[in-house]
């Protein structure tokens, strides 16, 4: 009896040891298979929750529909005017670029994805997308929403991709202050109790002009993130511990707690590797201007 118990214990130990020491490729395959297997359930659950939320919103909002309709009509008129101006500016910009012979450095294509889950352990700030390598999503690509950058892809399987969010301490982004042009590194601070996810701006020169409210965008340095994507706004500025640099707290433009959809900035090579047809022009991101091409012809 005792012998059998020892054999069982040794067998368990061996299984765990084997799992801990699986080669990287095998580990990825196992993880990918589990993720792909569970992803339809995750998508279904997420879809169900969204549908019920929409029904509740619809029922609650019935009384306010007329007022909301009026406000939206006014907003449409305003936005149409803004769009016309933006189109004029974009056209001028393009003309000047053509004259100067500028070449687009990051003609990224956006793959639209749905957020279907979060990190199952809570140790990391990640979300799971419903598209993976089969749709052209590769690792290390910028992920954004209409509000701005939210993170980068860190692990992909055939049908899912995990995104490391900006609030995670492991996520570092080279950024630039839009007003003064100063460079720095944005690093996640994790989620503090009772606070919205935030990011810290480090390595900004002590003499730099940084003020609360300054807009922070990606610098494009390092080549990982396209240039000019909105990241957030400076909330507080203070000298860092060494006294050589300034450090600032950045409030993110995208709400990381309420992500439903996201776009992955894929390259032509990613799409070619996945044998995906090139996406139409209305979802092509011009990282030089930060516009979606279809919006700013």
């Amino acid at each position: 009896m005792k012998d059998r118990r020892w054999i069982a214990l040794c067998a368990i130990g061996l299984v765990v040891l084997a799992m801990l020491n699986l080669p990287e490729a095998a580990s990825r395959r196992v993880k990918g298979a589990v993720r792909d297997g569970i992803s339809p359930l995750q998508a279904g659950l997420r879809g169900g929750v969204r549908e019920s939320r929409d029904v509740v919103r619809y029922v609650r909002g019935l009384g306010d529909l007329a007022l909301e309709n009026r406000a939206l009509s006014e907003e449409i008129v305003y936005l149409r005017g803004e769009m016309r101006m933006a189109q004029e500016l974009a056209r001028d910009n393009q003309m000047l670029r053509d004259q100067l012979g500028f070449v687009r450095r990051f003609p990224n294509k956006l793959i639209s994805c749905e957020v279907i889950g979060r990190d199952s352990t809570g140790w990391w700030q990640t979300v799971r997308l419903d598209k993976g390598a089969a749709a052209g999503v590769a690792e290390g690509r910028a992920v954004l929403t209409t509000d701005g950058l939210i993170g980068r892809t860190v692990a992909t399987s055939a049908r899912t991709a995990d995104v490391l969010l900006l609030a995670d301490p492991a996520c570092k982004v080279s950024v630039r202050l839009k007003r003064s042009g100063e460079f720095g590194v944005a690093e996640g601070t994790g989620v503090k109790p009772g606070e919205a996810p935030a990011v810290r701006l480090d390595y900004v020169l002590k003499t730099a002009d940084v003020q609360p409210g300054d807009e922070v965008v990606t610098s494009g340095l390092g080549g990982l993130f396209p240039k000019g994507l909105p990241v957030g706004r400076v909330a507080e500025v203070a000298p860092d511990a060494s006294g050589l640099y300034l450090t600032a707290r950045i409030e993110l433009t995208a709400d990381l707690g309420k992500l439903e959809y996201a776009f992955v900035a894929a390259t032509d090579r990613d799409l070619a590797a996945a044998q995906v047809e090139p996406v139409p022009a209305d979802v092509v991101l011009d990282a030089e201007t930060g516009f979606l091409e279809g919006e700013a012809p």
Binding site: L20, V30, W123
Partner: protein, 166 residues
């Protein structure tokens, strides 16, 4: 509990655990649903089911996170082994005892996983943050695990696979 029922709970547990947001106010612990499945097997079933549950639950949990494969299995095995050791001395069928068991084992599992992840430099948390998180997962488990046990027992009774303590 058949292997099929165990797999069902692991898939449902993994899906729910990845869908529910972590508790921001107490160190970001996730809802310990998969740990609940492991504890259910540890407290009510034969050792082989508990071991299979711990290894498979760890596999699902690690696959759905950035943790290397095997880490959560170690944490679940440690927590489940503690439950197996203690179950002889307590009436593990009562809701209050289940709640205490759940809280204790969730804290142990979180602590074990924190040790493993910190030793590899995969997370940068201070000792205080880890303790806070252990407390958070204990509170979540104390509330969640008796409910989960009720559901699992209910399903087993319906399927006719429920048997009193193995």
């Amino acid at each position: 509990m058949t292997l099929l029922v165990l797999l069902f709970w692991l898939i449902v547990g993994g899906t729910l655990q990845a869908a529910l947001p972590a508790w921001r106010h107490m160190g970001q612990p996730a809802f310990p649903i998969l740990l609940g499945v492991v504890l259910y097997a540890a407290l009510n079933k034969k050792a082989r089911y508990f071991v299979a549950a711990a290894i498979l639950a760890g596999l699902v949990e690690d696959a759905l996170s950035l943790a290397p494969l095997g880490y959560s299995s170690c944490a679940h095995l440690a927590a489940g082994a503690l439950a197996v050791l203690l179950r002889k001395d307590f009436f593990a069928d009562q809701a209050r005892t289940t709640s205490w068991f759940g809280a204790l084992c969730a804290a142990v599992a979180t602590g074990t996983l924190a040790l493993l992840l910190r030793s590899k430099g995969l997370v940068a948390l201070s000792g205080r943050e880890v303790l806070w998180r252990m407390a958070g997962s204990a509170v979540l488990a104390a509330v969640l695990i008796p409910l989960l046990f009720g559901l699992m027992r209910g399903l087993e009774r319906r399927l006719g696979t429920w048997e009193d303590r193995a």
